[in-house]
């Protein structure tokens, strides 16, 4: 660069910095094409491994601006200087090839699929490296597989596609998946991986369009992830969005319409069956028949599941325009996604827009990736006691209650909604139809996410990059509650609304220098850098009571309401500064080494513990390149090993110090005035430290038969120390507002991962490939820090408890700790022999194992609890099969998860002989029906001052293994059948390719689990991951789609 040009370059630099801060779209100038005096034309055809022509392949003369793309027949034509130069062929999904012209005028090329190729590049954070040079554990997920899934978010589509990546999906519109990489290494809060989208720390939640994703890399071990230091302990997923390519403009459009249904329901009794069974139950318990049951007239027969469930409709439309020259490229995409849920009044939609551009000018390269999305989520009020849960209520609700009736209209129930009444038929099930009519929560998220960067090539092989990232979201949630009730004994409320506006803001500045230098057989590359990030959330909420109503319609602005007003708001902010560096060394393509370091300073920790250092190292040996290696059928073999320390900062801002809570109030004075109080409500641990995860990884990558068969194997052991736990505290401490965080000990995760892929060298019309992965992860608690000392034994307490689970040293996180059942008492002699339940049990009651004082008349109580299984799968596996015959293609994805135990809390509710409707499967024990697992029929609750039969009540204990089941399942995650229209079919109207497809998702699930879906998210995603407490099941989705390219 000459001095003359410098001020101009400097101007560019500053412009980009400012542009990055403001995150404005940067419009890229188009580059110049070169001029040459003496030229010749090279033509040729580019095809894939099976001989099919590849249209749209970029062909470029290396080191120049000359280039073009192949046409629909895969043919290109390029003017090049006579006889010399090298052509570079590149195409998404295929390995780039360089071929010297060598005076030829026709050069035909066969491109090799990237996934099979070791030449492809992989993004590993601040750097890209050749896949073959990887030393750490990096999973590459092909978008070919993820794009087949009807997914609201990117992580959802990852299920089963990469070993060690566990994804638990729910089925609600707008619901996010739970992702764990290599087991659970934290107890608290967010155990999700860190996501990097185009160089910006950002969650690819439902606000990001999965269609924009070009590639995903999963960084699993310490060496791969250490460049992200304190945030990498749960693994890192790097997402790169699509870019424009040389040539074009290329227009692609796709549409997909899907029908979604719940594949399974609990079969519940109709009104007549209910009346019969409920009558028998009350008679068996000696209670008067419930008045409404006794008076049942046959008119009402509500199927509550039918009232709530509906056929969902998912629509997904995308359009992309992309293109570029040698010096600039662009991609503009727009998407619309609409998910009408399978459950009444639940909808989600997203509009998304993206502009990605990149421009080169001399030694500078400028680029930006910017996405704007607006998404809406509409639901009734969710969560908490008031709202109930539809996946309990639709089954528990009693069929002799109408959904609504004019007869039921009263001052407290102006809508006339049907629900339980102690004086008619007793149930506390929520009328979810009423809830959906009375309440609504509309959330709107407007998000801007992107980055802009400037590269400056200081010297050959030495490049500086300034990267500015921004994620900001303007969110609004409007919560409206109209007048009315939806369950028995509900507190009557006046109508009200709250309007919550919040802004999330995260901005990032990064300065990195990449270097790349070869000295003979020694090759070095790496990066050093400095980054700063600020993350803040601020919200303001206003609310008011008594909405105005005219003609039955509610006005829903704050000013239209007339009652008392309320407001609240807060600001939370934290900062992170980091230094980072990595060096990769390669000797003769045989010995590889990687050293990585990151130092993070994070304001969420107290000054004493604010800085954390995270180093790692990895070594690899490409055995197959050694001279002595002479096994012809092994085409590639690389051994790898790594060790490193990662961190985790699962904290909110200001959590390391205690605060006064100023909300409590008291009433004093004959005027009964409300006065303010202040107190510490939540306990804190002032010495919160970084979580540290030390990971050892050993593995090999192998290619056989000219890489047609590839295999990767990994064995890892990760020990997390100072793990943050939301420590469940005893009530006597008086702690409120959630469990305080403490650094509490150590968890080990170890496992094996195997990934195998095979692609036969077929040349005919039939082509296929198959890939499978297998993971085994074992989770064990090693230490639990200072949970207090047992004064009697002088030993550390060895467990924390949450719900019906216990996390204990030497065991997996969240194992069930419950009473054991032992069948049903068949006769009085068995009861007498058992003794512990003799005071109340009758034949037909559940027999519990009396572990403490077994065989005495000591009652069954909580001391008799024992461990009863782990919620974690013993083994998970995914399989992908793709095939094509001429223009037809068929692909399958299977996912299996085996050995996990689930606690079915919905079944507990339905089978407890309480106020619920009964399942049609209910088969109570009677003296003449003894071969059953259902205890004798009765009523579990006292009625009108007459005590319940203690035996019946005892049968319904929640803390027993009666509700724990094997949750193993094998699921056909996706099957897709597609037809690509022949080239010439639409070429006259400019359509270069067209594809139609039919696909089915979750077509079948093989499982013994009695619940609606064994793929549960969990009551507490970390400590109670296997508890099905009304989990929204995944839908069965049938889609029809079309794709066009112009």
């Amino acid at each position: 660069m000459s001095k003359k040009n410098l001020p101009k370059s400097f101007f560019w630099l500053v412009t980009v910095i400012l542009a990055g801060m403001a995150c404005d779209a940067y419009s890229a100038p188009l580059g110049n094409y070169g001029n040459y005096d003496s030229q010749m034309i090279v033509t040729g055809k580019v095809s894939d491994g099976s001989g099919q022509p590849l249209p749209g392949v970029s062909v470029r003369l290396k080191g120049t601006n000359t280039g073009g793309v192949t046409n629909a027949s895969g043919v290109y034509s390029l003017t090049v200087p006579e006889g010399t130069g090298t052509l570079v062929f590149s195409f998404v999904g295929y390995a780039t090839q360089e071929i010297p012209v060598s005076n030829r005028t026709e050069i035909n090329v066969t491109l090799v699929d990237d996934a099979q190729s070791l030449e492809g590049v992989v993004v590993i954070g601040y750097q890209t490296v050749r896949k073959r040079d990887l030393t750490g554990s990096v999973g590459v997920v092909s978008t070919e597989n993820t794009e087949r899934i009807v997914a609201r978010s990117v992580p959802e589509a990852l299920q089963g596609l990469s070993p060690g990546v566990t994804v638990r999906n729910g089925g609600a519109p707008g619901q996010e998946a739970v992702v764990n990489i290599r087991g659970l290494s934290t107890f608290y809060g967010n155990a999700s991986p860190l996501y990097i989208i185009d160089g910006m720390y950002a969650d690819p939640n439902t606000t990001i369009n999965p269609n924009d994703v070009e590639s995903m890399q999963v960084l699993k071990d310490a060496s791969a992830a250490a460049i992200y230091g304190s945030r990498a302990a749960n693994g890192v997923i790097i997402i790169t969005t699509k870019k424009g390519r040389e040539g074009g403009p290329k227009i692609e459009a796709s549409s997909r319409v899907s029908i979604a249904n719940l594949p399974k329901r609990y079969e519940m009794m109709d009104a007549r069956q209910y009346v019969t069974t409920n009558t028998s139950a009350y008679q068996a318990s000696g209670f008067p028949i419930q008045p409404a049951v006794a008076a049942y007239n046959g008119f009402v027969n509500t199927n509550w599941a039918d009232e709530l469930l509906r056929t969902g409709l998912v629509q997904d439309y995308n359009a992309t325009i992309s293109g570029g020259s040698a010096n600039a490229n662009y991609l503009i995409s727009a998407g619309y996604f609409d998910d009408k849920g399978t459950l009444l009044a639940r909808d989600f939609d997203r509009k998304s827009f993206r502009v990605n551009t990149e421009t080169k000018r001399g030694k500078f390269k400028l680029g930006e990736n910017l996405s704007i999305t607006s998404s809406n989520n509409r639901t009734p009020q969710l969560g908490g006691d008031f709202a109930g849960n539809p996946f309990y209520d639709m089954f528990a609700s009693v069929p002799i209650i109408p959904v609504r009736s004019d007869d039921l209209i009263s001052s407290g129930n102006p809508g006339g909604w049907g629900y339980g009444s102690a004086g008619a038929v007793n149930t506390y099930a929520r009328n979810q139809v009423a809830l959906a009519n009375i309440t609504s929560v509309n959330s709107n998220f407007n998000k801007l996410l992107g980055n802009a960067f400037l590269d400056f090539e200081i010297l050959t092989g030495l490049t500086y990059r300034f990267n500015a990232g921004l994620e900001t979201s303007f969110d609004r949630t409007k919560n409206i509650r109209r007048e009315g009730s939806w369950y028995q004994n509900q507190s009557p409320e006046v109508s009200r609304l709250t309007d919550n506006r919040s802004q999330f803001l995260s901005y990032l500045f990064e300065h990195t220098v990449n270097f790349n230098k070869d000295f003979g057989k020694h090759s070095f590359n790496g990066v050093v850098g400095y980054t700063e990030q600020t993350v803040q959330t601020e919200n303001a909420l206003g609310g008011r009571l008594n909405l105005a109503q005219f003609g039955g319609n509610y006005f829903t602005t704050i000013n239209s309401a007339t009652g008392a007003m309320s407001s609240s708001g807060e600001l939370r902010r934290h900062l992170i500064n980091s230094f980072l560096g990595r060096i990769n060394y390669n000797y003769a393509d045989r010995y590889l080494a990687t050293f990585t370091f990151r130092s993070d300073k994070d304001s969420r920790f107290s000054p004493r513990y604010r800085t954390g250092n995270f180093p790692s190292a990895a070594l690899a040996w490409r055995l197959s390149n050694e001279d002595f290696f002479n096994i012809s059928w092994i085409s590639d073999l690389k051994l790898r090993g790594s060790y490193g320390i990662l961190g985790s900062a699962n904290l909110g801002a200001y959590e390391f110090t205690g605060f006064l809570n100023q909300a409590p109030s008291a009433v004093f004075g004959t005027g009964q005035a409300v006065v303010n109080g202040a107190t510490q409500a939540k306990l804190v641990s002032e010495s919160l430290r970084w979580e540290e995860k030390r990971t050892t990884n050993l593995g090999f990558d192998a290619g056989f038969l000219e890489n047609r068969l590839t295999a990767s194997f990994e064995a890892f052991r990760a020990v997390s120390k100072d793990v943050l736990v939301g420590q469940p505290l005893p009530f006597y401490l008086g702690n409120l507002l959630g469990d305080p965080l403490v650094n509490i000990g150590s968890i080990e995760n170890k496992g094996l991962e195997l990934e195998v892929a095979y692609r036969p060298a077929s040349t005919g019309n039939f082509k296929w490939n198959i890939a499978a992965n297998f993971s085994v992860i074992r989770n064990k608690v090693l230490e639990l820090g200072s949970l207090g000392i047992d004064e009697e034994t002088g030993e550390q307490r060895s467990y924390i408890a949450s719900g019906n689970t216990r996390t204990q040293i030497g065991r997996a996180v969240g194992e069930y700790y419950v009473l054991r059942t032992d069948g049903i008492f068949q006769n009085q002699a068995e009861i007498n022999a058992h003794r512990a339940q003799a005071a109340y049990a009758k034949p037909g009651d559940i027999r519990y194992v009396n572990y403490v004082n077994g065989g005495t008349d000591d009652d069954i109580n909580d001391r008799d609890r024992v461990f009863a299984g782990s919620p974690w799968p013993k083994f998970t596996s995914g399989l992908q099969f793709n095939s094509s015959y001429k223009n037809f293609s068929l692909s399958l994805q299977l996912y299996g998860s085996f050995g996990q135990k689930l606690y079915n809390d919905v079944l507990r509710e339905l089978d407890s002989y309480g106020y619920s409707n009964y399942r049609t499967d209910v088969n109570p024990w009677t003296p003449s029906n003894t071969n059953t697992t259902f205890p004798r029929l009765g009523v579990a609750y006292a009625v009108n001052g007459v005590p319940a039969d203690r035996g019946i009540t005892s049968n319904t204990r929640g803390n027993s293994d009666r509700w724990i089941e094997d949750g193993s399942f094998l699921r056909l995650r996706n099957v897709e059948f597609a037809y690509t229209l022949p080239d010439k079919a639409f070429s006259r109207i400019g359509i270069t390719n067209a594809r139609v497809f039919l696909s089915a998702q979750n077509l079948f699930t093989i499982t013994g689990y009695s619940g609606l879906d064994p793929d549960v998210v969990g009551a507490n995603v970390n400590l109670e991951p296997g508890v099905d407490n009304g989990n929204y099941p995944s839908s069965r989705i049938v889609s029809f789609g079309l794709g066009f390219g112009f």
Binding site: G563, L575, A663, A678, Q680, L733
Partner: protein
């Protein structure tokens, strides 16, 4: 090259100029270290302890009345709350049942708040009189919380300083726990005023502390100490402060709150804008009323989760007043077909006659506790009743004083205090109608007197426990007692969560 480096340095400087304050203070709330500095902080701190009364359903908003009344032979679970119905029929399998666990938790929330005041206020530079008073108020409240913990759970661990996550106390014995209650009250008595200006009514007074101290001793049948404590109110300086109101029912009306009979009264206020019972939600508005009226009121106005046993009515009908009338306390205590002696057609249930509401239907025999209801001023109920709870009434103090005197052998001296209570109701004095009772006979008479005077006010369980009367024999009055196991059901189970989290805690016997 040099220029290029300059560019990089320059751009670094630009960015370094961004504000990077790693020690930014939380803009949302003061830290503990910056609080507890002024008298205002001290008063706010103790206000939050009183705030515990309103927190959740666990205490004086609702459930503490269930524990004292529905679980006893006075009442039963008459509504649709199966968990409650099983609990008060001594059929509890889940030791974390919210009805017992949340009452326990909320009492300890109050203890934690009181402990903060007691630990931090002594170091505040402020008016020493106010400082002593604030600390004494906190001690009174801590004593009240521990009194309830001991009464219902028997063996609570004792926390006396602000909680730390690593605290693993052992159970106190019942005697140790009551001793702590007495210690706090004795210390509070020293610094509490006998009364407050109007705007401060509702704060703990010396008389309230003496009364609770007496209750604490009496509950342990430490009669002499109990009598000493009550004496301050009955024959000492308190005698000029407290008296029985002429109209018994004035103890339960919103229009006659904080009257001279009220020794300690929890102040409730109707806040229509409230949207939470969770009083630490800074984004919501607290409920400072009580929901008990909604849950005790007869249907369809209330949920009728609890109702009274019919034998109580017979107890009232044993004696007539001196003018031949029915004991006026009967209609003040219950809503039933004859709340108005003229019968169902004259008895009003929230603006409608009993007859027209219930006719001969399933509710025709219903008996509902009336004392916390608002039927005297409106025809609806809700979760925000403003009707104050008279936690300790002077009539209760008089009867307890009599019990203490009788217990320590001074039966004759006990008569006048029972007489005062009976006379206010219009009954002949005991001195006339049943003179010269022996110690046991007098106690038996007191049991009857306490039912008539205090039915449905939440003290019946404590009375039965103190008298040793809890047994399956009560099933003749209350069939729920068929399940009663002596040695087990006197106390609730300690929440299993706490047993699971603290190896030093043991469960109550037979659970």
């Amino acid at each position: 090259m040099k220029r290029i480096i300059n560019i990089i340095i320059f751009s670094l400087i630009i960015l370094a100029g961004c504000k990077r304050d790693f020690d930014e203070v939380n803009p949302n709330a003061p830290t503990i270290a910056s609080f507890w500095k002024t008298s205002d902080d001290a008063v706010k701190g103790v206000n939050a302890v009183y705030g515990t009364f309103y927190r959740t359903a666990g205490l004086y908003s609702r459930w503490i009345y269930y524990h004292g009344t529905l679980k006893s032979d006075e009442g039963f679970g008459s509504g649709g709350d199966g968990g409650l119905n099983n609990l008060v029929s001594f059929n509890q399998t889940d030791y974390n049942l919210p009805l017992t666990a949340i009452t326990w938790e909320t009492l300890y929330v109050g203890v934690f708040r009181a402990n903060q005041v007691i630990a931090y206020v002594p170091d505040i530079e402020m008016d020493p009189v106010l400082r002593s008073r604030v600390i004494a108020e906190a001690k009174f409240l801590r004593a009240l919380f521990y009194f309830n913990l001991t009464l219902y759970y028997g063996r609570p661990p004792i926390m006396l300083s602000p909680s730390q996550p690593e605290d693993v106390p052992r159970n106190a014995t019942t005697a140790e726990a009551y001793a702590q209650v007495a210690k706090d009250l004795n210390e509070a008595i020293r610094d509490l005023p006998a009364s407050y200006p109007e705007a401060e009514v509702g704060r703990a007074t010396k008389g309230a502390a003496y009364a609770l101290l007496g209750k604490t001793y009496l509950q342990q049948r430490m009669y002499a100490q109990a009598a000493d404590a009550f004496a301050w109110l009955v024959t000492g300086p308190g005698a000029s402060i407290y008296s029985l109101v002429d109209n018994y029912r004035d103890n339960f009306l919103v229009t006659t709150e904080n009257n001279p009979e009220s020794v300690y009264e929890i102040q409730f206020n109707e806040n229509l804008a409230e949207n939470t019972d969770d009083d630490v939600r800074e984004d919501l508005i607290n409920n400072t009323g009580t929901s008990i009226a909604q849950f005790y009121a007869p249907p369809p106005v209330g949920f009728s989760d609890g109702a009274a046993r019919r034998w109580l009515i017979d107890e009232f009908l044993q004696e007539e007043t001196e003018t031949g009338q029915r004991d006026p306390r009967l209609s003040a205590s219950f809503l039933y077909s004859h709340t108005d002696p003229a019968g169902p057609s004259a008895t009003m249930i929230y603006g409608e006659t009993f007859e027209s509401r219930y006719g001969t239907g399933p509710n025709a025999n219903g008996v509902w506790f009336r004392k916390f209801l608002n039927d005297h001023w409106k025809n609806t109920e809700g979760f925000r009743s403003p009707n104050n709870y008279r936690l300790i009434r002077y009539a209760d103090v008089l009867l307890m004083y009599a019990e203490a005197l009788n217990g320590s052998g001074s039966t004759a001296e006990a008569y006048p205090f029972v007489d005062r209570v009976r006379q206010r109701a219009g009954l002949p004095t005991l001195s006339e109608s049943k003179p010269n009772l022996g110690q046991q006979a007098f106690l038996n008479q007191l049991k009857h007197e306490r039912i008539l005077e205090l039915a449905g006010e939440g003290w019946r369980w404590a009375d039965l426990l103190r008298w040793g009367d809890l047994s399956p024999a009560l099933a003749v009055r209350d069939p729920e007692f068929t399940n009663f196991v002596v040695g087990r059901h006197e106390y609730y189970p300690i929440p299993q969560r706490d047993i699971d989290l603290n190896p030093n805690l043991t469960q109550n016997p037979k659970y």
